[in-house]
């Protein structure tokens, strides 16, 4: 088989090795069988008794969304399992087979070796993800899913796959054996997917259910949260026919969005009392008791409104602003600016950035960091020990 001239040599070789023989095809078939099975179950569960006359369009759309969300959920779950599996052997496997040294002394740079490895293991994962898309067509048949949503979800799953591959690749360069690399890569993925939720929950308990500001950083690197944020949520998801596995995460995200609205309006006057040290989480007062809450939290300066807000002439102004702003959601930016100029209620700009953007940022940092560490591990000559 002829391969293009400019192809990364490592990628070309790995493609030949990986795609030769029946292994790749068998994995693909098994993967699709699992997903078909899942779609089938969800379809029957969501459509309930199909014999009870013609279902409404809304019910059908709900089933369609349910099928699509479940599909995305399982693809994401399988990606989390498969990516470390196919990537963790990349460098450790060469070490084990004693083929790494001949590779390292070629003229290939560590970066191009890593990129070749990355592309090779991702090629297969991308194939798996693309092979899933025809299954998503079932949802189109039923309705309830827009093409752009499919594109967004696929893109985010791909980003997650790339990130996990980079992290696994670092494990692969760090450990001498494939086994160790695979176990640690899976553990790290587990930490991202489940550990972040546990830590978030723990923080929520510690802060009596009020989590905001920096604590949300715990969840931005969570693949499931990231994907949940790019999927649309409709109210029918709460009913049986439209059930989505992403609903809990989306409710959490919705809460964040609500708080964000609150904090952006409230920060104008609750900012001065932004908790001990100012770096703690923002305690967002419940809406109706807003003016009441402001007073007890202002434990710092004696005249909290006057000191940090030189731009606002009278302390009464913020209150009126709040009342005016609340119904119009376009004003938070204005309110936030004042907040940023005055105080630091947690991390105000963080709350304004869409969650998926934060996730993308987190994934980029993870990927580039892992790759840089991996390249250092792979570089020769090794630093001398003395």
């Amino acid at each position: 088989m002829k391969l293009p001239r400019t192809l990364n040599p490592v990628f070309a070789r790995e493609l030949r090795q990986r795609m030769r023989g029946p292994r790749a095809a068998i994995i693909l078939i098994l993967y699709l069988l699992v997903l078909v099975f899942i779609v089938q179950i969800v379809y029957f569960a969501a459509s309930g008794g199909a014999n009870r006359g013609a279902p409404s369009i809304e019910t059908l759309a709900g089933v369609g969304r349910s099928v699509f969300h479940t599909l995305v959920f399982f693809v994401l779950g399988l990606v989390c399992f498969i990516v470390p599996g196919v990537t963790a052997s990349a460098v450790a496997g060469e070490r084990e087979r004693q083929t790494l040294v001949p590779l390292q002394i070629t003229l290939l740079r560590p970066w191009s070796i890593l990129v070749g490895k990355l592309m090779a293991s991702l090629a297969f994962v991308v194939l798996l993800i693309v092979a899933t898309l025809p299954l998503a067509a079932v949802s189109f048949l039923l309705g309830g899913v827009e093409p752009i949503e499919v594109i967004r979800a696929t893109a985010m799953v791909l980003v997650v796959a790339v990130t996990l591959a980079c992290v696994s690749l670092w494990c692969s360069t760090f450990f001498k054996r494939t086994q160790g690399a695979t176990v640690v890569a899976l553990a790290l993925v587990f930490l991202l997917c489940v550990g972040t939720f546990i830590a978030f929950g723990a923080q929520m308990i510690l802060q009596r259910g009020q989590v905001q500001g920096r604590s949300q950083l715990l969840l931005v690197a969570n693949p499931f949260m990231a994907v949940a944020d790019v999927l649309d949520r409709r109210d029918e998801q709460l009913s049986a026919s439209g059930a989505s596995p992403f609903t809990p995460m989306q409710l959490l995200l919705e809460q964040r969005r609500e708080r964000q609205r609150d904090s952006s309006t409230w920060s104008t006057d609750s900012g001065s009392g932004s908790g001990p040290g100012g770096s703690g989480p923002v305690v967002v007062p419940p809406r109706p008791t807003a003016t009441v809450v402001v007073a007890p939290t202002t434990s710092g300066p004696p005249q909290p409104d006057a000191v940090p807000q030189p731009a606002v002439p009278q302390p009464a102004v913020p209150e009126t602003v709040i009342r005016d702003v609340r119904p119009a959601p376009s004003n938070p930016i204005l309110a936030d600016r004042t907040a940023a100029a005055g105080f630091e209620p947690g991390v105000p700009w963080l709350s304004r950035v869409p969650f998926w953007v934060l996730s993308l940022l987190a994934f980029t940092v993870l990927s580039v960091g892992s790759l840089a560490l991996a390249a250092r591990r792979l570089a020769l000559p090794k630093p001398t020990f003395s």
Partner: protein
């Protein structure tokens, strides 16, 4: 064999590889301790020593895989710890352990390394044809790499090290684990390469394995150079005396005799027969690592 040696172009004027006070320590362990070598261009240089003598470490430094703790090395005019890329362009290195990929054909294996050494694609086909012919693997072109025998893998590994037409070849224990036939083939291959003008550095723990094909030999122990020179010089510095093992029929008994040459061996045999002993076997003791090397190092140290 000696004709071939005479034929080989050994230009003592230019030095292909030089080390000065080369030292590599791992904590308290001195893997290489102040090694001075100068290897002439076009020579075949044998590095002999027991396991742990520092042969592989030295080779790894020369191949730009390790940086020395102290001292310096120069390979084909470049310092491997300063200009690793320039050194890699000019050095073919075959490690003592050879790994091959699975699910890959011989031709694809060599194509991969040709690409990794940035050999223009237009030249691949001809280059791989020539290399396979050189190492006598032309018929295996489409075989899977991991299905080859050990000797064939070794020759493929050598072809791999030659993909970028290096000036200097560094072969770490190329003959270990090969059967006698494969060793002979390897030796002939190295002679062929020397005729092509390549500087070859080869290591072994067995002097006898190298003396027939090397123009220069150096003996290394505990990271230090014990002796160097032509194989003849080294051999003559050794005490003579071969160990003969005599096995007698009808008993477990073995007799060890030290003989100086063939005549004495014959004498031993005749004497035994004259005594009416039923001799089953008279063989020279295995001149493997323990025996031969003990004698080499002892002889040199004394």
């Amino acid at each position: 064999m000696s004709d071939l040696l005479a034929e080989a172009v050994v230009d003592d004027q230019s030095i292909a590889v030089r080390t000065e006070g080369l030292t590599k320590t791992y904590g308290a362990l001195h893997a290489v301790a102040g090694l001075d070598l100068s290897i002439p261009r076009g020579s075949t240089f044998g590095l002999i020593g027991p396991n742990g003598a520092g042969k592989s470490t030295t080779f790894a430094i020369l191949a730009s895989l390790l940086t020395p703790t102290a001292g310096r090395a120069e390979v084909a005019g470049f310092d491997p710890s300063i200009d690793p890329v320039e050194v890699r362009r000019r050095v073919g290195y075959m490690p003592d352990v050879m790994g091959v990929y699975d699910n890959l054909r011989v031709q694809e294996y060599l194509e991969f390394f040709a690409a990794a050494y940035a050999v223009p694609r237009a030249r691949w086909s001809e280059l791989i044809g020539n290399l396979l012919e050189l190492v006598d693997l032309t018929v295996k072109r489409d075989s899977m790499v991991d299905s080859l025998s050990r000797g064939m893998k070794q020759r493929l590994s050598l072809a791999r090290a030659l993909v970028h037409d290096p000036e200097v070849l560094i072969l770490d224990e190329p003959a270990s684990g090969l059967d006698p036939r494969a060793r002979v083939e390897l030796r002939e291959l190295l002679l062929e390469l020397r005729k092509m003008g390549k500087t070859i550095i080869v290591s072994s723990h067995i002097l006898a394995e190298l003396e027939e094909m090397c123009t220069h030999v150096a003996i290394l122990e505990a990271g230090r150079l014990l002796a160097s020179g032509s194989p003849r010089d080294i051999r003559s510095a050794l005490p003579t005396g071969r160990r003969i093992v005599v096995k007698l029929a009808g008993g477990e008994e073995q007799v060890h005799v030290v003989a100086d040459d063939e005549e004495q061996v014959a004498l031993v045999r005749r004497l035994l027969v004259d005594e009416g002993l039923r001799v089953l076997q008279v063989v020279e003791a295995d001149s493997g690592l323990e025996d031969l090397f003990m004698r080499i190092t002892k002889g040199v140290v004394q």
